[in-house]
Amino acid sequence: MTTSVDYNDLASQLQGQFGQGFTPAEDYVEVPCAFIAKAAEYMKNTLGFDYLGMVTAADYADHFEVIYQLQSIKTNSSALLKVRCPKDKPFVPSLANLWLGASLQEREVYDLFGIEFTEHPHLKRIVLWDGFKGYPLRKDFKGKAYGASD
């Protein structure tokens, strides 16, 4: 069975590597936005989390949150990282050059939440079409009424 890492241990390891700002919680570590690429690279190459399970996002009242679930095939353990970004400047570094699979899921997050992944090789809409206006999974997105064509 996959076991979760000890997040206090993980946060102190990351802090020892990159400095302050890594906040452990009960079931995740909050990573400063600027450090997510470095932290993910450290976790992949040094801590052995070689598999990116998923990338998703959430819309809270005052910030966006991007959620990464990493897995280690070798030790059969998983870790959850969260990154906060402000609503008016939703920019998060891309992990697509670490895991190619991140490219697809970051595009989906960009498509539905409007969070832009900097240095993403091919950041464009993936589920919706190019001309779509708005980001439908944001809480302030107004759905279209019945019969509206556009």
Partner: protein, 194 residues
């Protein structure tokens, strides 16, 4: 040499001669040009209206195009298998090419991203063609009718002939809808294009 004009009596005589000659030659009726048709063929020729013959052919050989968007498809697959046996209606040939099909069974939720492909398939089908909206999503978008990504009913994209309610409709319901379409086709006429 001077030619004398005909007298009135001469004109009368010539007219009379002509009539008598035609009358003498016309004592027997002209034979039927189709008399070479023998009795065997005569007994085997049916008379019908073009409409009735065409409609009979069309309604008994509806060929659906293989274009299904979501879960109502599985009820269609059930209807086309042995238990419900859609082959009774001459419909078992699902065509992979829209150019060989004349029925679009709109089964399932249609998203705006998929809509151009469905419209293109319908436009590629040769006339005469019909479309059945199968299930709540195909009729109105169903529970997704106010979604940002779902077409609120196939009739925004293609003209629909028969609406089959249900979520999903059971195969019996689908067969009842196909029966309704067959009755509709039987009333069509070549004089009034669809």
């Amino acid at each position: 040499m001077e030619i004398e004009p005909f007298t009135a009596a001469e004109i009368e005589r010539r007219e009379s001669d002509g009539i008598e000659a035609l009358r003498a030659a016309s004592q027997h009726p002209i034979p039927d040009p189709d008399s070479w048709l023998d009795e065997e063929i005569k007994r085997n020729v049916m008379f019908t209206t073009v409409d009735a013959a065409l409609n009979w052919a069309r309604k008994t050989s509806l060929w659906p195009v293989t274009a299904f968007t979501a879960c109502c498809t599985f009820e269609f697959i059930g209807a086309s298998s042995a238990r419900f046996d859609i082959a009774r209606f001459g419909m078992e040939v699902l065509r992979a090419s829209p150019r060989q099909a004349d029925l679009l069974v709109c089964a399932g939720t249609l998203t705006w991203k998929m809509a151009p492909q469905i419209k293109r398939l319908y436009d590629q089908m040769a006339e005469p063609k019909w479309a059945i909206a199968m299930g709540a999503c195909a009729i109105s978008g169903g529970i997704f009718c106010d979604s940002y990504s779902v077409v609120p009913g196939y009739n925004h994209i293609v003209p629909i002939d028969v609406y089959i309610p249900g979520c999903p409709p059971r195969p019996e319901t689908l067969l009842a809808g196909i029966e309704a379409l067959r009755r509709k086709i039987a009333k069509e006429s070549i004089r009034k294009p669809k």
